[in-house]
């Protein structure tokens, strides 16, 4: 298994975008499935100890994924993706909006817009993600702060898993 997988992370404040690029040691169809099928997404989308719980998955243009990040204490943070464009095994675009469990948007925050491109490079797959925000440039980052507490325990959780192996 390849261990030196490429990862790029950059922030363009002027254009209010975050770019994340990552190489995966797997064939493109598997990586595409992992990003677009609810059962597989739920296995990795939430950084442990959070769990991803997808309630609705309609992976088609105009369709939605309604899901929650479930904290270790059972707290659910809901959001939905709305897919605006899908080019199978190449690219998909969606908006991401915080909501309640029924998919009613939380009007306090704007949406962010995701553009995800998949490409093959030898035996690996490159996933290139651009996230653009439509409101105050720091906002999305701030919202994600909800993970601050979660993340510390996440790292401890990871240590635990690694120790068990």
């Amino acid at each position: 298994m390849k261990t030196d997988l490429l990862m790029n992370f950059s922030v363009d404040k002027e254009n209010k975008t975050v770019n994340v690029k990552r190489e995966f040691d797997a064939p493109l169809p598997n990586v595409w499935s992992a990003w677009t099928e609810a059962e597989i997404l739920d296995l990795w989308w939430a950084p442990a100890p959070f769990k991803s719980k997808t309630k609705i998955m309609e992976f088609k243009e105009g369709g939605r994924r309604l899901y929650a990040m479930v904290g270790p204490d059972g707290t659910e943070r809901w959001s939905y993706f709305e897919y605006s464009s899908i080019s199978p095994k190449t690219n998909f675009k969606h908006s991401a909006t915080f909501s309640d469990g029924d998919g009613k948007p939380n009007s306090e925050f704007g949406s962010s817009y995701w553009d995800i491109t998949f490409s093959e490079e030898g035996n690996s797959t490159i996933v290139d993600i651009t996230i653009r925000r439509d409101s105050f440039e720091e906002l999305q980052k701030i919202i994600e702060m909800g993970f601050k507490e979660g993340f510390t325990s996440a790292m401890q959780g990871l240590d635990k898993i690694l120790a068990e192996k």
């Binding site: 994340v20 990552r22 598997n30 990586v31 990795w44 442990a48 105050f136 906002l139 993340f151 790292m155």
Partner: protein, 108 residues
């Protein structure tokens, strides 16, 4: 009392206040008008934001205007490192999922 900047942004109302005062200076009344909570609740949030040293106070006549200290928000950049770390963790989980998919295929 000195507070941690992360206390400022741990609350959704306070995050919304920060957004409001990031573009223009507002009086406590003008801020309170934007929320469905009581004036007292908003005052309490403003007090906390002040203790986090995130507010620039300007007096104009009898009114106090609050504006966001943008420089202070740069501390949030450190948070960016955590955002990056979240993606790293997410991806290492995905690596594992992809590995499992591969071994499942090999079984078939």
């Amino acid at each position: 009392m000195k507070r941690d900047i992360f206390q400022a942004i741990a609350d959704p109302t306070r995050r919304a206040i920060l957004v409001l005062i990031s573009s223009s200076a507002l009086t406590p009344n003008a801020i309170a008008e934007q929320f469905q909570t009581t004036r007292q609740a908003v005052s309490k949030h403003i007090k906390i934001l002040n203790e986090c040293d995130l507010l620039e106070e300007k007096k104009l006549g009898r009114e106090i205007y609050y504006q966001l200290k943008i420089d202070k928000m740069k501390e949030i950049d450190q948070w960016l490192e955590q955002f990056k770390a979240i993606w790293e963790q997410r991806f290492s989980q995905l690596d594992q999922v992809l590995l499992n998919l591969k071994s499942k295929e090999n079984e078939n």
